[in-house]
């Protein structure tokens, strides 16, 4: 007997691509990337988004995720791209998708994709790392010690076992300041971190491990990291908006293979 082939016509072609910025906030920052992907695909169904599907026995809605943040880390700047089989109003899409997701997984922006790939525009990430209980002076000293080094190897536990990576080379900017909400008399530190997008990615945990290794900085309370931006890296170390190019592109300018 011949192998079965999927019945019916081939999937509808892609007529529009939309890029979304979304946030992982509060307690839902403990959502893993896989958890988010499941929740997002269910939200697409609930919202009735006219998705384009892959071919095959188990067609999947065409969603491309870009540089997802690690589990337990909050983010204001996660990105993904969806491919649609019918054209939609992008702002309305943003509203219904946001409503279809649980509070804490929030869709912040939607723009029609222009030419070029989104992933290629992600060159760096900016993080704020809150260090409860750590005086700003101690944090600043540790930061200075770290920046004085050209390489700091840290260990990370991966599925393949322990591996070492350099947490220093990818750092574009690292500075400690006093957390705004704090009582100025006491005051705990907050780190402003910009890291270049490298493989494997250097994460806030790796930078914290580096600070521990070079300066013994070991907060008693777990630090809280938030990704505040990711995108192109400017000359002054600033992280730009990866959707800026799409905003200025002609609608429908992207090619649809």
């Amino acid at each position: 007997m011949a192998p079965r082939t999927p019945d019916g016509p081939p999937p509808a072609p892609v007529v529009q691509r939309v890029r979304l910025r979304y946030a992982k906030r509060g307690r839902l920052r403990f959502t893993s990337h896989r958890d988010f992907a499941r929740a997002f695909e269910r939200a697409l169904r609930r919202a009735g988004v006219p998705m384009a599907y892959s071919a095959g026995f188990t067609p999947h809605p065409r969603v491309s995720y870009v540089g997802a943040s690690p589990t337990g880390v909050a983010s204001e700047a996660e990105y993904l791209e969806i491919a649609l089989a019918e054209r939609v109003d992008v702002e309305r899409l943003r509203t219904v998708l946001d409503a279809a997701l649980p509070d804490g997984l929030d869709v912040l922006e939607a723009v029609e994709a222009g030419p070029g790939s989104l992933a290629e525009r992600i060159a760096a990430s900016r993080w704020h790392i809150d260090l409860p209980g750590v005086p700003v002076e101690a944090a600043a000293a540790a930061v200075a010690a770290l920046l004085a080094r050209s390489e700091v190897l840290v260990e990370r536990l991966t599925k393949e076992g322990r591996r070492h990576l350099d947490a220093r080379a990818a750092i574009v900017r690292l500075a400690a300041s006093r957390a705004v909400a704090d009582d100025p008399a006491g005051g705990h530190a907050i780190l402003d971190l910009v890291v270049r997008q490298v493989t494997p990615a250097v994460r806030p945990d790796d930078v914290l491990a580096a600070l521990r290794s070079v300066a013994g900085l070991a907060p008693a309370v777990p630090p809280l990291a938030v990704r505040v931006a990711q995108g192109p890296l400017g000359d002054a170390g600033e992280v730009g908006d990866p959707l800026a190019a799409d905003r200025t592109a002609e609608p429908g300018a992207a090619a649809f293979p």
Binding site: R46, G48, D89
Partner: protein, 658 residues
Amino acid sequence: MRGRTYSGAVPVANLFPLLEPLLPRVSKPIQYVGGELNARVKDWDAVAVHWALMYPDAYEVGLPNQGTQILYEVINERDDALAERTYAVWPDLERLLREHGISQFTVDAHRPVGAFDLLGVSFPTELGYTNLLTALDLAAIPLHASDRDGSHPIVVAGGHCSFNPEPIADFVDAVVLGDGEQVVGAITDVVRQAKQDGASREETLLRLATSAGVYVPRFYDVRYRDDGQIAAVSPNREAVPARVAKHTVMNLDEWPYPKTPLVPLAESVHERMSVEIFRGCTRGCRFCQAGMITRPVRERSIAGIGEMVAQGLCATGFEEVGLLSLSSADHSEIGEITRQLADRYEDARVSLSLPSTRVDAFNIDLANELSRNGRRSGLTFAPEGGSERLRRVINKMVSKQDLIRTVSTAYAHGWRQVKLYFMCGLPTETDEDVLEIAAMAHDVIRAGREASGSRDIRCTVSIGAFVPKPHTPFQWAAQSDPQTVDDRLRMLREAINADRSLGRNVGMRYHDGEPSLIEGLLSRGDRRVGAVIEAVWRDGGRFDGWREHFCYERWTRCAAEVFADQQVDLAWFTTRERDADEVLPWDHLDSGLDKQWLWDDWQDALGEFEQDDCRWTPCFDCGVCSNLGTDIQMGPTGGSLAPAPPPGRSLLPLATRP
């Protein structure tokens, strides 16, 4: 004892700020944060009665549980009550909670479980008992009901295990038998009134026992004979009934719950939208407790099912609909239900599944409808017994010819895998009965190769040890010891592999006999078993339903210690056959089934006589309908699905026309 007061006498803390710093240190923290789609958080001070609902296993297993979701929604729909959920925490978090002095918490608003008026715990399996003790202890609720006072929640057990709750009688205040959706309202009413009246804990429990149909173990005394058997179980209060009957919801269409199922962020064991298409089963499989204690059959109508599916898919975005029941292909309109659902959702990429199907009720049209939007990856059937003789004993009348014919058709239509479920250690079973499973699996492969013209097909034999359960004809049977079960499973494996050519396409999955013996102790135990559960828990026993956590040595050691100076032991409760006149620990709990009918059915089993299904043949007087005033409710109704729109598309006109 003082009564509980409400309206915010003591502010109820949100424990999340304390819990949050611990979460990065535990595995899968998402399971503890709540915030799922369709979760509810109500104002604590705005309601009179607060329920914590616990499923005593890990979140990933507990969240999809239909019973818990139904009660969660039914309670939260009331203006005067709220319900929040709590699940068993894994040992990594348990350790941290103890270290930081944090209570067992609900995932909805992270409130301490001890602050609730009621803690409802649903037990689908006895192996969750130790997890109840962990939760009580973490919540600072005394383990023993007799040590609790008015400041503690009333601990209510439900689920199938509640038909013999005697092993946990010391740990629970009250027990509900049967369907929960109506009685949960009655309990809420009683507790609200009792709080208003400032009634004591004792008085509140008495009201529950006398007016809400709730079993309160402390109001019943158990006396034992010198030989260890129970002499009698009798009420020690005048007003409580000598026997407590189960609750039965009639007309499922009036109870379309869950309407808005919870959608977990964490991965769970069932990632689908489930609709219970009927409750109860009268096929009469003698080993099956569920089929005995949930009678009579009550079907949901095709129209009601259609509404629930449409509403549930809109509310969740799931892409699979599970049509649940004890034997889903037996619904009187299953053909129309599956055909019309498959039609309705053809374009919406929603697939259908029937988790429980009998070989004799299955047909290829049904299978084709089910696989229209899904893969033809596997079909599952449960012959349960290897030989024709044994299937007569257990009253699971599926002939080998039926099975071979069905699987041949399936293989011919493109299926590549068939899974067959069996039990080992059934009453009267011999080695030969079990070895016939190997022959059956070989025949399935032969037939499948012929039908499909391919050698690349598979048959998986999944087999576990039989545990005799209360309120079944096998409640008197001797449970097989683990050694016998394990020996037979080993022989079976050798027999399957004896023919290399056929055997390599047969997979065998099995559960060894040791956990089943402990399940047997907890299933048919009496109040004396409670001390064993507590000893095991104090020794570190947790998550006994998980192979990697279960410790047989711990259970046998603790049982030996507890029973050292008693007339009973582990074997007495498990591998001992009972006589007709023995008082069983659950005789005062009324499932509707006549004990004499069960005994006669047990004798018929030993005589290898079959029993028909009362849906299609005259009533055989099992007792349920006459004793409980219930009746079979089944179609065909001749109705059809309402022309509901597929989820999403026409609800939110997103697309813009160029």
